[in-house]
Symmetry: D2
Subunit: 143 residues, 4 copies
């Protein structure tokens, strides 16, 4: 079943031009959990050779949305996200792990951790939290 | 003087590979204020033809950082951001306006509005708030 | 009309035991705007004689809720709040001003500023942002 | 050693008039972890007999501050907090558990869960995240 979710999620990812532009892919999706990954390239950096904060905020947005969608259904919106940058990211790839903290009929509150993998070592570089809502009811944008 | 700030900010932007990947540019920088813009292309979208939330979170991250840097100096880090997505974005371009709410010796708290421009009409599509810190003192990532 | 809103809001406040415990009162309510006030007493302080952060977070929670309720109707829930503490608060009273940034059918996103008044001078001491939802549909708590 | 931390934390709590007004007490403090509790009384409620959101936001503020202080030292400030209300709280007491996600020289990023205990059953009612800073260096308020 996790395979089915992951496959479905990967189809959604493949249909997102922005996700392709960034080179992100979904590595896991199951009820309540999502994992995304970005192999890092020069074009993800800011001016000092570190990963740009916007790459990390994209991952937070998307992994929270997938986590929320895994329990609310595929037609969801991101209402809001909050993230703390914990340390500069340099490495081979970013991994974002999101999970559902609480889900109601309409909304799911999710958290995520973003890790940078450098020479095989994972280091936490951001922590996020946000609200995902079932669509068709109003507000927010769609990730 | 606003010209000097804007020019300096544009040099920083030009040195950010991720900013170039997204096609963003700085249109204004002066003490306490920053404005960024992204002409929208297909590759900024998610699967339903709307702008991906990650494009908007990038803008929030970067415009808050520039606003904070305009009062703290160019060597800053983004500690944290929070944003609310207000409505789906479709249009010709996104404009992000950031301003400093309060600045101390080490940190600046900033807010921003992100607007989508469609056939010349601006509509608010996201609202952000975050903390920027002078670097060299510890935590956070760099945008 | 603002008088009607303010009066209605004051009845809600009067029915909240926690608001009475803190000595808060509503000074203004009109569509899209709310203002609350707390005359400061010793019991609002932390151990260093400054106003406790929890008093400020209470004000953020309540003024955002009233602002949201002014456009969504009285039966609302607070989904989430975020606040930045800007400087230590010492003075005669706290004033919280909230306003609606964007409202849909179900949710309203609001911002607020919290000011401390000391010898007649207002100083900004916190900035908040949050989401208020119409109740009866699911999630969140009620302020 | 956890006993020493807890004892020290309880002395800080006892010196906070606002904490006494709310009836909160610290039940655990050790490096990277804090737990607070409030036995619920009528005066913690809003107008519908549920716990007021401001009681929960106070707990989030304070438990994150204690968690951060457990690694940064006792002289800390809360820079910012974010919380999601997950469900209405009714019960005998609230328990807030905070932990450090990442700590640098100056700042610690912490998360917390707030649970309501009703007839012995714990239910998650809020999730928080925030930044605590060592004081003496600038910005923010003190909890």
């Amino acid at each position: 079943m996790a395979e089915d979710y992951t496959e479905l999620g990967q189809q959604v990812m493949a249909a997102q031009p922005f996700t392709r532009l960034l080179g992100a892919h979904l590595t896991h999706l199951s009820p309540g959990k999502a994992e995304l990954e970005i192999p890092l390239r020069l074009e993800h950096n800011q001016q000092h050779g570190l990963v740009h904060g916007g790459v990390i905020s994209y991952l937070v947005d998307d992994v929270l949305t997938f986590a929320g969608g895994s329990v609310l259904g595929p037609d969801v919106l991101t209402l809001e996200i909050k993230l703390n940058y914990l340390r500069p990211a340099v490495g081979e790839r970013l991994v974002a792990r999101g999970w559902v903290v609480s889900a109601g009929r309409r909304n799911a509150v999710c958290r995520c951790d973003v890790l940078v993998v450098n020479e095989g070592v994972e280091t936490l570089c951001a922590a996020g939290q946000g609200t995902i809502a079932r669509r068709g009811d109003g507000d927010g944008t769609a990730s």
